[in-house]
């Protein structure tokens, strides 16, 4: 415990939310501008659903660990 500081899970959530938004955005961009040499199973658009999943988990972690430690 570090009094006055936030738990590590808050920062885990922050990074997951950031990564989720960036990857989701990249996935949406790829729909509009498909890559010249797409990876295998590109049709599944893994960036979109994986990015969304990370962002959701990140938001939950942040929400549950907002409070500073006493």
């Amino acid at each position: 415990m570090m009094p006055g500081k936030r738990p590590i899970w808050f920062f885990v959530g922050l990074l997951l939310l950031f990564y989720g938004i960036v990857i989701l955005s990249a996935g949406l961009w790829e729909i509009r501008y498909p890559p010249l040499r797409p990876p295998v199973l590109f049709r599944l658009h893994a960036s979109i659903w994986w990015g969304a999943l990370l962002a959701i988990f990140g938001a939950i972690f942040i929400r549950r660990n907002m409070r500073r430690q006493s």
Binding site: I8, S25, S47, G51
Partner: protein, 583 residues
């Protein structure tokens, strides 16, 4: 991003007909700006964590033991994350490609029983002796000679292991990104040195939690998409049998009746006794790198739960390590090679299977996340070694033998400097291991040299009150020299392997397992014989150190679902079930 080596999905028929030939070697991808943002954000974040906890790491307890205030979950995840370095991510993925499903033994029989044993039986002793380290326990139990020998060999082993982590990471950077080996080694070393020196064990543990989450977030997508591509487990088995023309790659136990009936060239006795007992119990119950994480827990129950929680997650790691290696056997349209052959021919080596699978399935953003997961794994492994090295050097070598009466601030400063020195020595060893044949082989050699005999000493120390100081020291010394001697023998006379591993059909992995077993046996025999010939310590001196002379502390009341024994039983039942399913 423009992939240089695109992977198009081969049909099953094309796979069967396709001659396995490695493509011309170049790095796999160029990073897009999205990938660069993700990687840079990670580096910035871990340095930020170091500064964030710096002011909470000013005493010896804070810096070396994270204030002993971690919850069971944090200590447990740090426990498993600290050994989720390059060995796990690249070494065992490569081993799965090379040996098939047998490689999963590294996570199941080669880990789970030992982790549960640590949580249930051994952790109370470590925790109530209030020691800073495993060498610290040896000092209390066997005196300064055993402590000094153990501390020096441990310091040597951690820096060598750290070098493996660093070399593997630099290899990924070279293969995936085309980065220069030197640039990768120095960049990541400076970041690790920065955050561990700033925040000590607390910073290392917090970053390990972060790294644990990132490793799963970045690596789990590969097996998910891989299983979709091959059409499920049954199709995967069938395709591997067709591609390789043999069925023993997809069984864990059924081919272990004879050395020649499985791709690894091992026998079940070596797997069970050499790997599952000596190497695994030795690593998980005496390697201070992992024990230090459990000792940071805020009470005894949390310290006992930490390895049990770690074991539950450890059982799942094959999904992101072994499965990609097996999938590669099915879907990659060329053969991977041993390290030396890959260097000679310009092909891809077994150790590169995970990055190859990453670029097969991932586009911009996900590539960055996957590369970040690999970097995080390497940095977690390296930070674990460096923080353990700093603790053992300061507490078990510097304080007892050079400066007994310094202030807390002095020892913390020494720990910070040690972190930097440990990283520099690791950099040197990273260049050394480039000559090694394979990452896994190198690591298991180190474990058999130093961990196997140490396990014999600690086990007898905890369970047999007749063991004496002289017995402990001479047993440890004899076990270590036996192990190194056997390695030199086989290195000079390769045909000697048939005597060490008890079969003319044995291969390299079997040598490591049996060498560890011999080292442990010699250590135990010498310890017992010397102890019986020397005067035992009075029982009053063994309180808190040996079963039978120790009043174990009564844990506070806990519901059944909070008890370590209950969860250890659950994990053990699942472990048995998994071995039967994949028999």
């Amino acid at each position: 991003m423009v992939p240089i080596a695109p992977f198009l999905k081969p049909s099953a028929a094309a796979l069967c007909a396709m001659p396995f030939s490695a493509p011309a070697k170049t790095h796999l991808i160029y990073l897009s700006s999205v990938d660069v943002v993700i990687i840079v954000a990670y580096f910035a974040f871990v340095i930020f964590i170091g500064f964030y906890v710096k002011n909470s790491s000013n005493t010896v307890s804070d810096f070396f033991m994270a204030g002993r205030e971690m919850t069971a979950w944090i200590a447990g995840l740090a426990f498993v994350s600290a050994n989720l370095g390059s060995l796990e991510l690249m070494g065992w993925a490569g081993s799965a490609y090379q040996y098939g499903l047998v490689a999963a033994h590294a996570y199941w029989i080669g880990a789970i029983p030992a982790m549960l044993f640590l949580g249930i039986v051994m952790m109370p002793f470590y925790y109530i002796s209030r020691t800073h380290s495993v060498p610290g326990y040896l000092q209390l139990r066997f005196g300064n000679s055993a402590r000094a020998f153990s501390a020096v060999t441990f310091a040597l082993m951690t820096t060598l292991m750290s070098g493996i982590n660093m070399y593997s990471m630099a290899l990924v950077m070279k293969v995936v990104l085309g980065w220069d080996l030197n640039l990768s080694i120095w960049l990541c070393s400076l970041v690790v040195a920065g955050y561990v020196a700033l925040g000590g064990l607390r910073s290392a543990i917090f970053n390990e939690i972060l790294q644990f989450v990132l490793i799963w977030a970045g690596a789990l997508l590969i097996p998910i998409l891989g299983m979709i591509e091959v059409g499920g487990w049954s199709n995967l088995r069938r395709q591997i049998e067709i591609n390789l023309g043999r069925s023993d790659y997809m069984h864990m136990w059924s081919g272990l009746g004879h050395f020649s009936q499985n791709p690894m060239g091992v026998h079940w006795t070596g797997v069970v006794f050499g790997w599952g007992f000596v190497l695994a119990f030795g690593y998980f119950t005496t390697d201070f790198l992992v024990i230090q994480r459990a000792l940071s827990a805020h009470n005894l129950r949390a310290a006992r739960m930490a390895p049990i929680i770690g074991a539950a997650f450890k059982m799942m790691v094959p999904a992101i390590v072994i499965l990609p290696g097996l999938l590669a056997l099915s879907v990659l349209p060329f053969h991977l090679l041993p390290e030396s052959a890959a260097i000679a021919t310009g092909g891809y080596s077994y150790n590169e299977v995970l990055p190859l699978m990453l670029v097969r399935y991932c586009g911009p953003g996900l590539i960055g996340l996957g590369v970040t997961a690999l970097i995080a794994g390497f940095m977690a492994g390296m930070a674990g070694n460096v923080s353990a090295f700093a603790t053992v050097w300061t507490e078990d070598i510097y304080r007892p033998f050079f400066n007994r009466r310094a202030s807390d601030a002095h020892y913390v400063a020494m720990g910070r400097w040690c972190t930097v020195v440990g990283v520099l020595v690791s950099v040197a060893t990273a260049y050394l291991v480039q000559r090694s044949a394979s990452i896994m082989d190198y690591a298991l050699q180190l474990f058999s040299f130093f961990i196997a005999p140490l396990f014999g000493t600690v086990l007898l120390g905890m369970l047999w009150k007749r063991a004496t100081n002289a017995g402990g020291f001479w047993g440890l010394l004899a076990g270590t020299t036996t192990s190194i001697g056997l390695w030199v023998w086989v290195d000079r006379v390769p045909s000697a392997l048939r005597y060490v591993a008890l079969s003319p059909n044995a291969k390299g992995m079997a040598e490591n397992m049996y060498r560890a077993l011999w080292a442990w046996i010699v250590c135990v025999v010498v310890t017992v014989v010397v102890s019986l010939l020397t005067t035992p310590r009075p029982p009053s001196q063994l309180a808190g150190l040996v079963y039978g002379e120790t009043q174990l502390p009564v844990e506070e009341y806990a519901h059944w679902y909070e008890r370590p024994m209950v969860w250890a039983s659950v994990v053990f039942v699942i472990f048995i079930a998994l071995n039967i399913i994949f028999w």
